[in-house]
């Protein structure tokens, strides 16, 4: 999985591209979020449009990232969920845990 990082309106956006799955994608996501927290960044938007597959480890990593950032007093939100990623979060009732937005503009305005 590739991760591109950019800043907009004081929010750091991580654009994920590929599979958030056990062994690689989940580790890459964990390291990216840990890096942001190490830099003192706590407004994080995860852009998921180009995610093709997410498994239970990837879901667990999203939950972990959300909890860690929240516990630091920050906010981690999700935007542009592909239908199958949405389904995965929906059936484990996590869609209501995360703040999820359809567009980047809406997400940025919410921080």
């Amino acid at each position: 999985m590739k991760i591109e990082r950019r800043e907009r309106n004081g929010v750091t956006i991580l654009e994920l591209d590929g599979k958030i799955t056990i062994g690689k994608g989940d580790v890459a996501l964990r390291e990216a979020v840990q890096q942001l927290l190490a830099e003192g960044i706590t407004k994080i938007l995860i852009h998921l449009e180009k995610v093709t597959t997410i498994d239970s480890s990837g879901v667990g990593e999203l939950v972990s990232a959300f909890t860690t950032v929240t516990n630091r007093g920050g906010k981690l939100k999700l935007v542009n969920l592909p239908p199958k990623v949405n389904d995965i979060l929906q059936i484990t009732q996590l869609i209501t845990v995360f703040e999820v937005y359809d567009t980047e503009e809406e997400a940025l305005a919410s921080f």
Binding site: T53, S56, I91, T92
Partner: protein, 150 residues
Amino acid sequence: MERQLNLTVSSRFENIELVQAAIDEAVAGRGADDDVRHWIGLAVREAVANAIKHGNRLDPAKRVEVAVEVDDGTVVIRVTDEGEGFEPEEVRDPLAPENRMRTNGRGIFYMRRFMDEVSYDFGPGGGTIVTLRKRISADGDGQDQQEELS
């Protein structure tokens, strides 16, 4: 016409890609559309990941065997590890409020959600065999799942 496939891989996460690709090829063109193939692929990923991580404890010397049969519009996948087994009834419910924010424990739930049937057997000398079954023909039961999971 029946189609069979047998694979044996070492306990490394990168082999999950190999298994998923091989099974996807086995079910492609047998009545499974892209959505059904996606959910079967995810269930297989969870089964093999569990075999590697929880069954074989990430020991690369231990093997995971995967057997696939596609026949009469149904795919049956058996994933066997060399672990000590577990008690399926003791697996936590990931939908319970106290478990919802856990970072693990959703794999079996997803498998059951994506497939028509998931069962476990335990070999006399150890090892867990998880059997995943799903109807993949266009007019079969698999359509119910497809409509719910777009």
